[in-house]
């Protein structure tokens, strides 16, 4: 297989957001936080597959905001409540239905939201990242908080892609975020434990489970959210051309484990492990 080298863009990781590095501009605008949120199957609902292997069957199943996005949103709201940020803007990419999650985000405390309208919810992370980058250019946020992973596709890509496209520093898997004026300090959960990074703003942060415990929306806030603004914009209007990079061949159930047995005692357990299957 061949690939043309000239297709690879000349790479230099540099801030591609105009005006961002102008400290005068930054002093005037108080911190805005952009929070991309995704509509996914509720974390506690069992997924059902189409019998023809064409994909999952979400028909009639309970949908929700991806749990990691809830944590990202909660952190943004807390930073606003603590006086570090002035505005929290939720954004989602998807079909009309995804507005439900934007309403939910505003009930939780987002000030307004942006709906990037697409004709499918089955979008690749790279395309989502490109659309979010276009929104980022329009909105010029100092911080973007994303979930580390969507629990349907389990991709764990969008935030990192967005950071690379925008040419801003990233911190993934955040379990603590501290704002110090023009920079942030982030604890990241890594395989060996926790590591701490410092990032200049603007920056992209993807959040992990232990960053915070999201609040629940209260009824008056749900009512108030109905009056908050959702601005709708299409990919075309954002000037982004979507491209298919991945073709889905089939989606099937994983091989089932054969049914096990109950043992009555420690002795019986050890006997099985030692003499029957000989793992000990």
């Amino acid at each position: 297989m061949m690939h043309e080298c000239q297709k690879i863009p000349g790479f230099s990781l540099k801030n591609r957001l105009n005006g961002y590095n102008d400290s005068e501009v930054r002093k005037q605008v108080k911190m805005k936080i952009l929070v991309p949120v995704k509509r996914t199957l509720d974390a506690y609902v069992k997924v059902r597959l189409q019998s023809d292997g064409s994909g999952v069957d979400l028909n009639g199943l309970k949908m929700a905001m991806n749990p990691f996005c809830e944590i990202a949103l909660e952190e943004a709201i807390r930073l606003r409540e603590a006086g570090h940020a002035t505005e929290v803007v939720a954004v989602t990419v998807g079909t009309e239905k995804t507005q439900e999650q934007l309403r939910g985000a505003m009930a939780l405390g987002a000030d307004r939201s942006i709906h990037v309208l697409t004709d499918t919810d089955d979008l690749e992370p790279l395309n989502i990242a490109k659309l979010l980058y276009a929104v980022m250019q329009n909105e010029q946020p100092q911080l973007v908080f994303l979930g580390k992973q969507s629990i349907d596709g389990d991709n764990n890509q969008t935030g990192q892609m967005l950071a690379a496209l925008a040419g801003v520093p990233q911190a993934t898997f955040a379990s603590k975020v501290v704002v110090n004026g023009d920079s942030i300090e982030v604890n990241r959960e890594v395989d060996g434990g926790v590591e701490t990074l410092s990032l200049s703003l603007p920056a992209v942060v993807t959040v992990d489970l232990r960053l915070n415990e999201p609040r629940y929306a209260k009824l008056p806030d749900i009512m108030k959210a109905k009056k908050k603004i959702i601005s709708q914009i299409s990919g075309d209007e954002l000037g982004v051309t979507l491209k298919q990079h991945i073709e889905s061949i089939k989606v099937v159930e994983p091989p089932a484990r054969k049914a096990g047995i109950k043992v009555a005692s420690v002795d019986e357990l050890l006997d099985k492990l030692r003499n029957e299957i000989k793992v000990l």
Partner: protein, 310 residues
């Protein structure tokens, strides 16, 4: 023309990450030639370890104080400087690999395919989605494949290779996060992802102190210790031990789930274990549905007996 695959290998200065050998096997299923790229501040011994893996033709390395605890931005720049020669770029689906690989894909304007467990052909891959409740077969339409790999799905390549070793120049990005420090959990036990036996505890353990009951068992078995999210959230153990959809994925020969209910997010991290033993006082706990051997009992009564009799 021969196609080449580039493995971005993880290491801890003196020690190459053991999963690298599985990445070599995966890479050789996707390309004619396998190369490894190493970045760091002290690479002497890891470069040698990488060159010894059978099937590796070339080890490229960049050694510099700048690359001590390198940021995603630094790693990405370094990869972008050499990537033009490659048809495949792959790394492990660890927190190391997940951190920078999507940046590489985005800058190449190609997709990343995450958590690949099987290579069906040079452009077709199998990966779990929905916490492992479905397996998706996908075909990449891109000229360059960018992948993260679950090492457990691939045999380890043997030693006995003799790759050529090439030093490459340092490339520094204009923007990068700064490393301030790390608090890594001390662990004298086998690595969770590679252990033959894993003993995991959940909320049922009730406290950090009670995890010592698991330690006794793990000592006897030479096992790694794992935990459910609830146990980590409650502060019983370090996040480094979490097994599951959003923690580590393990597939040992023997997995003990003790005081763990068996939520789908936990199962996602351990259901490919060869043999699963569950100990839980609730006979209805979902963990028993996937356990090969289930013992309905109070863990505080049976753990001391189990450790004693081993």
């Amino acid at each position: 023309m021969k196609t080449k695959a580039l493995i971005i290998a993880e290491h801890a200065n003196q020690q190459l990450q053991s999963s690298t050998s599985s990445l070599v096997t995966a890479a050789s299923q996707m390309a004619d030639e396998v190369h490894i790229l190493l970045m760091g501040s002290q690479l002497q011994s890891v470069v040698e370890q990488a060159a010894e893996l059978q099937g590796v033709m070339e080890v490229k390395y960049c050694q510099s104080a700048e690359l001590d605890q390198p940021s995603a931005e630094k790693i990405t720049s370094q990869i972008m400087a050499v990537v033009a020669d490659y048809a495949v770029v792959l790394t492990a689906a660890s927190t190391f690999g997940k951190n920078f690989m999507p940046c590489v894909a985005a800058l190449l304007d190609v997709a990343q395919i995450s958590e690949v467990i099987q290579v069906e052909s040079r452009d077709t891959f199998v990966r779990p989605i929905y916490a492992g409740n479905a397996l998706a077969t996908v075909r990449s339409l891109d000229p360059i494949k960018v992948l993260t790999i679950r090492p457990a799905g691939f045999e380890a390549a043997p030693l006995g290779g003799g790759a050529t070793i090439t030093e490459i120049p340092l490339v520094v990005p204009e923007i990068s996060s700064k490393f301030l420090g790390a608090s890594l959990s001390k662990n004298e036990r086998p690595e969770l992802g590679a252990a033959r036996i894993v003993v995991s505890g959940g909320r049922g353990l009730g406290s950090a102190e009670n995890f010592s009951l698991l330690e006794k068992l793990a000592d006897k078995l030479g096992a790694a210790i794992g935990a459910s999210r609830a146990a980590v959230d409650a502060g019983y153990v370090s996040n480094a031990l979490q097994v599951g959809q959003t923690g580590k994925i393990v597939a040992p020969e023997l997995y003990f789930a003790i005081g763990i209910s068996g939520a789908i997010q936990h199962l996602a991290g351990m259901k490919d274990s060869k043999v699963i033993v569950a100990i839980n006082k609730d006979a209805e706990a979902p963990i028993f549905e996937i356990a090969d051997y289930g013992l309905v009992a109070d863990l505080f009564e049976v753990l001391p007996v189990l450790a004693e009799k081993l």
